[in-house]
């Protein structure tokens, strides 16, 4: 059946609520017809408002409450309709959820999923656009998941919720229109999942996560038409990061372009470059590694600025061609 990315998330929720009575969802907007796009439509009607809970505007306490329920036999998913709002809950995510298992010597586990939605563009501006997956990937104890396809959107959501560790699941509203043919919902072990080659090639390695993987795929198609053959890797799981797929790819292609929709300094793209250059002898690289990231500024609102603010497929193609030497200007 053809399902959109948003619809696939909803399928994941439905599967979980249907088959796992210890699962519930809590967060702002869950009883709204429009708050989280089409990704949770009518779940409250189908599974009851006792298990699909809309909340006051209290990000920190709602996240802490989900953690408390996770420590008490449940598998809650707490939903933050924007990463920007989720920042109010950083203490409960980073200083609590990520650390409870460790600091109590493994006596408890924390089957908590925190879903943060990247919701940007549309001239929303500086406070309604942040991604910040790099922040969460930085924190030991958290697993960080970013699906770039409808099937991952569904299956990694299910895997996140069934995992006994705290998981940050980040989806991107810009992907909600993507479509896939989906079969029945599998239950995979998140701990076995990691970066994956989604397009094989040999001229250079493009690495992305979430929406930036979609840019890389499109760029690869465009470049294929021009006779270039890039490999595309989708990170999928940003933390704990298993870089070997990427390292092996770059060993083969000799070139690396990391693309990310988060800022540059201490961001995911730089991390990929560091992992690869630490692991390969300098001679294995045919050119300098490169990263293409979000403009290092808050998001502007004005249309013309917004259009140049976000990396595009064109930008990826342009940078990739420069790297391969097809294009002279940098």
């Amino acid at each position: 059946m053809t399902v959109s990315y948003g619809g696939a998330i909803r399928e994941g929720f439905a599967h979980l609520l249907e088959n796992h009575e210890e699962v519930f969802a809590i967060g702002q907007g869950l009883w709204s017809p429009w708050y989280v796009g089409n990704s949770m439509t009518d779940l409250d009607a189908d599974f009851g408002r006792a298990r699909v809970i809309d909340t006051p505007v209290s990000e920190l306490a709602c996240t802490g409450a989900a953690l408390g329920a996770a420590l008490s036999g449940y598998r809650p998913i707490v939903i933050h309709p924007r990463i920007d709002f989720m920042l109010l809950a950083v203490d409960q995510i980073v200083t609590q959820a990520a650390k409870w298992r460790f600091m109590f010597g493994g006596q408890v586990s924390v089957p908590l999923t925190v879903r943060g939605i990247i919701n940007r563009g549309g001239e929303q501006g500086a406070q309604h656009s942040q991604a910040l997956h790099s922040w969460f990937a930085h924190v030991p104890g958290l697993r960080v998941v970013m699906p770039s396809t409808p099937s991952d959107a569904r299956d990694l959501l299910v895997a996140s919720v069934l995992c006994d560790d705290p998981v940050i699941y980040i989806d991107d509203r810009w992907l909600y229109g993507e479509e896939d043919d989906l079969g029945p919902t599998p239950e995979v072990d998140l701990r076995q999942e990691g970066p994956r080659v989604v397009h094989e090639g040999r001229d250079l390695t493009l690495v992305g996560c979430g929406y930036s993987t979609s840019l890389c795929r499109q760029a690869a198609e465009r470049m294929a038409a021009a006779g270039l053959d890039p490999e595309v890797i989708d990170l999928r799981v940003l933390n704990p990061l298993a870089p070997s797929v990427i390292v092996e790819s770059v060993r083969k292609t000799g070139r690396l372009l990391a693309v990310d929709g988060d800022w540059t300094t201490c961001g995911m793209a730089g991390e990929i470059i560091a992992c690869v250059t630490e692991a390969l002898d300098p001679g294995a690289l045919r050119s300098r590694p490169s990263r293409l990231t979000l403009t290092d500024a808050p998001a502007p609102t004005s249309g013309p600025l917004e259009r140049i603010y976000y990396p595009t497929v064109d930008d990826v193609v342009h940078r990739a061609e420069t790297l391969v030497g097809v294009r002279q200007d940098s």
Partner: protein, 355 residues
């Protein structure tokens, strides 16, 4: 206080009839004496209404793309509060602050240019509807992170206290914002340090799609003022005269050093949480209530009172609307022709000088 709604029993937890959409449909009570302010308040509310209706249309037409939270139906608190302030005072708002900006004297052109993303906008085209700043008129900033400007207003009040010039800070926020912890932290700071800040809550009973009954155990947020040991008033937020009288008294006290004060103005928004639609898809309270709440229209109730008292003629009232619409249309026309920020400037506002 004579101007207080009859319902105010000093029960800080319950709105009682102020929450009843069947009540307070009639004329507001005009003050004794000089009515010149009342006339300008009417004109101002009409201008705000006209500007927001225009912006709503621009959104519908796809000409404005940034998220716009319209305060149509809530014009009274902004106009009332602005009238009680003076130079040096500083006002902070949130996501639904077009009215705060215009009431303080901001130009319609600056607002429309901003929502269109033009460099002539009040935030130079960098903020859109949700981020407005106009220091000249005392608007120190509005942002859409719920509750975020509340501590900032408190800090501005701390600065005002240090200055010792009697300036007052005003924090506008909604009922939803009282659910953010930072609201309470800020109230406690202001009370402990006795800061010159007016907390002004526009309780429109909704936060996004959720009625306050689904978010809090009681519908009046004045109970938080009591908890934080602050004096407070609750007013009919669709009665601009009542709002002004409560605010005037509060601001005078605050200026004289008596510490913070809290006002809860009960009101209702006519349009959706965001955008021009009416959001009648979000729960029974709203479906049933909206039509009744429109009968509590702050503009019509004031206009009726003035018509009745022969302080205004029907033709004059129509002229006010026509003038407002003309001003708004002209502003829109002009703003449409303004230029966008230069793309080279994208990084120019980040730091005080390029890094």
């Amino acid at each position: 206080m004579a101007t207080r709604a009859e319902s105010d029993t000093r029960d800080s937890a319950r709105l009682l009839d102020l929450a009843d959409p069947e009540r307070f449909h009639g004329q507001v009570r005009l003050p004794d004496g000089d009515l010149s302010w009342v006339k300008s308040a009417l004109a101002h509310m009409i201008l705000i209404r006209a500007a927001e209706e225009k912006i709503g249309n621009l959104v519908s037409e796809g000409r404005v793309r940034c998220p716009c939270h319209l305060a149509i139906g809530q014009e009274a608190p902004a106009v009332a509060v602005a009238s009680c302030l003076r130079k040096g005072d500083r006002v902070f708002g949130a996501h639904r602050s077009h009215g705060h900006y215009l009431a303080l004297g901001g130009s319609v052109h600056g607002l429309i240019a901003e929502v269109l993303g033009k460099v002539t906008g009040v935030s130079r085209g960098m903020g859109g509807s949700m981020h407005l700043l106009d220091i000249t008129h005392g608007l120190y900033g509005t942002v859409p992170i719920v509750g975020a400007t509340i501590p900032i207003a408190v800090g501005s009040a701390l600065a005002a206290k240090m200055d010792g010039q009697g300036a007052v800070a005003v924090s506008f926020f909604g009922d939803g914002a009282t659910e953010e912890g930072v609201f309470h932290e800020s109230m406690n700071l202001a009370a402990t340090f006795e800061l010159p800040v007016l907390f002004f809550c526009e309780n429109n009973l909704f936060s996004s799609h959720l009625h306050i009954g689904l978010r809090q155990p009681a519908d009046s947020v004045s109970r938080f003022a009591e908890a934080h040991q602050m004096t407070w008033d609750r007013v009919d937020g669709n009665d601009v005269i009542a709002c002004r009288e409560a605010t005037n008294a509060a601001v005078a006290n605050i200026r004289s050093g008596s510490g913070p004060h809290f006002i809860e103005a009960v009101t209702y928004r006519w349009r959706g949480h965001v955008g021009p639609s009416e959001d009648d898809d979000v729960g029974v309270e709203r479906q049933e209530g909206l039509a009744r709440w429109k009968l509590r229209d702050p503009i019509r109730r004031l206009a009726d009172a003035m018509l009745d008292a022969s302080q205004l003629g029907e033709d004059h009232l129509e002229a006010l609307w026509a003038e407002a619409r003309a001003e708004v249309d002209a502003a829109c026309e002009a703003a449409s022709k303004d230029r966008y920020p230069r793309t080279e400037d994208l990084l120019n506002f980040l730091y005080t000088s390029a890094p």
